[in-house]
């Protein structure tokens, strides 16, 4: 049932748009580009306008990072229907790869992006191969177990992660070090990251792999019967998703310059939050995860500031409630709700 709902939010929504332009026309990457450029330009304008307001700029920067992460997650979680909560592992791999290469070998983080991507994708493929035999919630539980393994290893492997006290990067500002004095530069950096993930996600959705992933999500038996290599499709989707998440880790490392395993691999603060953002925004849509990040990240900060100080854990009480109510009443997220409103409105016209 849930699969069908997801299919409607993605595939049917687009066929409706395609239908209006003539039934024969297939919706392609080129059709998506105007919206993409408009969205990126709008956020770029917001970064420019906020460049002197540090509080809001920081908020936007974090929203863009989590937006990018959720868009990456959405490739395997939304298009492919494989709800991973282990994406914090790939995020951490990216951060540690860049951190160690920079700190010990003086390698520029820009160059470290490549090994970070490769390593994240390789780890994702190796661990996913056994885990992809499991379906639905079993898959989610196994990825949760992977997070536990990763935390244990990160705590143990002090040479790479610095153990519980964390890994720190010396402050040496400069473009080649990806460390900036101006706060707006980071916002621009994360906007770039978001743009890369969005573009990848658009290309995949409109490619053979995207259609394969959606077929596997909606009915894996039928997909297999039609000759789609299920395991290969899922592995490819996972590897791409993990590689993009790894890039996010690189940028995050250079932004905060100190990371520790408990924070980086936190089940709630990273792993589940990425999936939650996509859920709130709209799973399986292109811009839903971004929308979710723009809503949830500021809300989280606000709740932390106002509720968290009044009642211990108050912010998490509210987030927990949102999570329960969201999964009960807004399964298609804000993007799905907006689409429904739009449809009702256009029917009236």
């Amino acid at each position: 049932m849930s699969n069908l709902d997801l299919a409607q939010s993605g595939a049917l929504g687009d066929s409706r748009l395609a239908g209006r332009r003539g039934a024969a026309e297939v919706w392609t990457v080129a059709n998506e580009l105007p919206t993409f450029f408009a969205v990126v330009a709008a956020i770029g304008l917001a970064v420019y306008l906020l460049s002197n307001q540090f509080f809001y700029l920081n908020l936007l920067t974090m929203a863009l990072l989590f937006g990018g992460l959720a868009v990456s997650w959405n490739i395997i979680g939304g298009f492919g229907g494989q709800f991973s909560i282990a994406h914090s592992v790939f995020f951490a791999i990216g951060a540690y790869t860049a951190g160690n290469l920079y700190k010990h070998f003086g390698v520029s983080p820009w160059i470290a992006i490549l090994p970070a991507m490769l390593l994240s994708a390789a780890v994702a493929a190796i661990v996913s191969w056994p885990v992809f035999r499991l379906r639905g919630p079993f898959f989610a539980i196994a990825t949760m177990a992977l997070t536990e393994v990763a935390i244990a290893f990160a705590m143990h492997w002090k040479a790479v992660t610095g153990g519980a006290s964390g890994l720190t990067i010396p402050y040496r500002a400069g473009l080649e070090n990806m460390i900036f004095q101006q706060r707006w530069a980071y916002a621009a950096l994360f906007l770039g990251y978001l743009a890369v993930t969005l573009l990848t996600s658009i290309v995949i959705l409109r490619s053979r792999l995207g259609y394969y992933l959606q077929a596997v999500r909606d009915n894996d038996k039928a997909a297999e019967a039609s000759g789609i290599p299920i395991m290969w499709t899922k592995l490819k989707g996972m590897a791409i998703s993990a590689a993009l998440t790894g890039i996010g880790g690189v940028f995050f490392m250079m932004y905060v310059r100190i990371v520790e395993p408990a924070g980086l691999l936190s089940l709630f603060d990273v792993g589940v939050k990425i999936a939650l953002i996509a859920l709130i925004g709209g799973i399986g849509t292109i811009y839903g995860p971004l929308l979710g990040a723009l809503i949830l990240v500021p809300l989280d900060y606000w709740l932390r500031a106002f509720m968290g100080s009044a009642v211990p854990g108050g912010n998490l009480i509210v987030l927990g409630l949102i999570l329960v109510l969201g999964s009960l009443f807004m399964k298609k997220g804000v993007a799905g709700a907006l689409r429904q409103v739009y449809r009702a409105w256009s029917r009236q016209q």
Binding site: F83, P130, L134, P137, A140, A145, G314, G320, L328
Partner: protein, 296 residues
Amino acid sequence: MDQFFNVVALGMLLGGTYALVSVGLNLIFGVIRIVNFSQGEFLMLGMYGAYLGYSTMGLDPYAGAFIVVPALTLLGMVVYWLVMRPLQNEPMMQVFASFGLLLLIQNVVLAITGGVGMSMNTPFSQVTLTIAGVQFSATRLIILLAALVAAGGLGLFLAKTNFGQAIRAVAQDRMAAQLMGINVERTFMWSFGIGTGLAGLAGVLLTPIYTLSPQIGGNFVMAAFAVVVLGGLGSVLGALVGGFIVGLTEAFAGYYIDPELKHAVIFIVFIAVLLIKPSGLFGQAGAEEVGLREQS
């Protein structure tokens, strides 16, 4: 050699703890196939319930169980009716919703208690038995015993009683069960309630051993999921054996490899078993998929 037997004893006692924690989850996740990540929070509520009885009425935690377990059964039934029932056919939404419940319950308790660690004693806390140079703590032995009784009781209940058969029938084929005159909703509600009640029982029995904190449920819930999947979904014997495997693995890995890596070792074993036998040790082949078949 003495060390070895001590490690084995420790592993068996830990295994009893994991088995007891897993019995309730086995019913909820193994038999009726509802994903409940908030199971650990019911355990935590059981611990705080026992503490409340102890601090307000001076109840021994073992006596407090007679109040706490029915209360948590009732709470579980309410949670099922309000949250899980509307999401019956959507396992992925159950993951999200139960994670939300986890955050909610955990932080409500945190808000009420202010996060102060609490601990309590019973007359049994300090008692240890020594058999042939190997030490057993009395509270752990009680848990081991309770695990055996609870698992045996649940097994008999599912196999022999009418209601137990109804639960299995509903788990296997909802529509056919309904056609046979079983009230499906009520069966699910009771199963969920019994499962959370058993989590509460585990919590009560754990209070003399662990310091209470709102986050303590997390220490057990992942292990419990590992135990249930490892043993084979819906298999009571499997959950018991799975509990001992996890307990022994933890004790041996903690002693012979590195205490920091003991959790990693458990989950590597867990993933290895899934690789070789996805249905778990005692599960029927394909059992991991049956529950996900779309039922209408």
